[in-house]
């Protein structure tokens, strides 16, 4: 089965429905699926829920889908870098479900592993725990969190082979593997597609079983906070 597609819009063909749940990789603007986000904007798909640690910045990354009002709800841990996000949220146009960052990552991982719920100490005694099942294990209290089962995963990796085996680069890995795992269909954009057999099998970060469609393209890779030291 051929997994390689010519473009982001072709790779998303037949996968988009209004009201769907999409899991997206990336942390801040690092390792975000820029090309697939652009294709989502072009597609006009609406009322989507996105599980992603952040929501881009104004005019870039997932922020583009805010500008076009295609997002109904975000499941995130931190959304502080986006004025349009705050405007839509405060006016009631946009729903927001805060998740502690590790809980969000584990909810994606769990969904990808067929685990519908798990218990964690994170958030016990805070607003996050309200309405959630509490259970004691070995004298400590935990709350239940549910696995995320997304309709679609959109991810960014560094390299893929033709079968979808993936390698990520530095901290651009972040949420991409768990986001990839939790979708019914996973579409990946990479900087380079290499011939099958050219990646060391011991160095694969995410095996191609999780990857259904692949595109290659140019990435802007915008830096959010450029910080340097003097020699």
């Amino acid at each position: 089965m051929k997994k390689i597609y010519d473009s982001a819009d072709k790779a998303l063909e037949g996968l988009l429905d209004d009201g769907m749940l999409i899991a997206a990789g990336g942390f801040g603007l690092c390792g975000i699926p820029e090309l697939l986000i652009d294709a989502l904007v072009e597609s006009g798909v609406k009322d989507i829920t996105i599980a992603s640690n952040n929501c881009g910045v104004d005019g870039f990354g997932l922020g583009k889908l805010l500008d076009t009002k295609q997002i109904k709800k975000m499941m995130s841990s931190y959304v502080g870098e986006n004025a349009e996000f705050m405007r839509q949220y405060l006016s009631g146009e946009l729903e927001l479900e805060f998740n502690p960052q590790g809980t969000l990552a584990e909810r994606m991982r769990a969904g990808g592993c067929g685990i519908p719920g798990f218990y964690t100490k994170t958030g016990v005694g805070t607003v996050i725990a309200e309405g959630k099942d509490h259970k004691d294990f070995n004298g400590e209290t935990y709350i239940m969190e549910e696995g995320i089962f997304a309709d679609l995963s959109i991810v960014k990796a560094w390299k893929a082979d033709e079968t979808g085996n993936l390698i990520f680069r530095k901290t651009a890995r972040n949420f991409n593997p768990p986001a990839a795992m939790c979708g019914k269909v996973c579409v990946v954009e990479v900087e380079e597609i290499v011939p099958t057999g050219s990646l060391d099998p011991d160095h694969i970060h995410l095996p191609g079983i999780y990857v259904h469609r692949i595109i290659q393209g140019e990435h802007e890779k915008r830096i959010e906070q450029r910080t340097v030291r003097t020699a």
């Binding site: 942390f27 841990s77 901290t171 972040n174 959010e224 030291r229």
Partner: protein
């Protein structure tokens, strides 16, 4: 009274050779400058152990950032991993200590540092996971807020980041531990008397 750098230096004294440590944003970030000869590995919760300093101009890499989204560098010991594994090691208690800032700490160790009702809510990021999971939670903050009110309280007034999670508090006035029944003064900052520290503190001092 200690300034920001002296508070960071005092916090660095808390770290033991061989520890894996997570530093928060603000004064906690400065702690890295004062670890001296100790073998400390810094974790960045976006997926890295062995965080290095900021890059030299021209060496910035958009694929290499810390949890504050700042460009950083790697070290010979660096390892990268995904967010689920990153918080697995946090939740799993593998990180010896987290040093972080706070808006309020209560005498029972409750911590509030993520939201002020009615103000812009940005999110908790990884703070709830860190305080629930790491071995030791060390708060570094000013003793009072900009109105001069104590940030060490009998009970937190703001929404909590974690319940009974703080072990030690380092402020511009001194060092306090969360113990049975309240806070215990460990030491006072240079030029600060114990009476002055008590007078600036709302929480019960035992």
């Amino acid at each position: 009274m200690w300034d920001r750098n002296q508070m960071a230096a005092r916090a660095a004294d808390e770290l033991e050779d061989g520890w894996y440590v997570n530093l928060g944003i603000g004064i906690p970030t400065l702690v890295a400058n004062y670890v001296g000869d100790k073998d400390i590995t810094l974790q960045s919760e976006n997926g890295m152990l062995g965080m290095g300093p900021f890059p030299l101009e021209g060496d910035e890499d958009p694929d290499l950032i810390n949890a504050g989204k700042q460009t950083i560098t790697e070290l010979p010991r660096t390892a990268y991993f995904d967010s689920a594994q990153s918080f697995g090691m946090i939740r799993g208690g593998k990180i010896a200590a987290a040093i972080l800032g706070a808006m309020e700490v209560a005498e029972n160790g409750d911590l509030a540092n993520w939201m002020i009702p009615g103000k812009l809510v940005k999110g908790m990021g990884g703070a709830m996971d860190l305080v629930a999971g790491v071995g030791r939670v060390i708060v570094v903050m000013d003793h009072t807020n900009k109105h001069g009110d104590s940030k060490l309280l009998k009970e937190c007034t703001l929404p909590l980041t974690g319940k009974n999670v703080v072990d030690r508090i380092i402020t511009n006035l001194g060092v306090l531990d969360v113990v049975e029944g309240g806070l215990k003064i460990v030491e006072t900052a240079d030029g600060v008397t114990e009476d002055e520290l008590r007078a600036a503190t709302e929480a019960t001092i035992v």
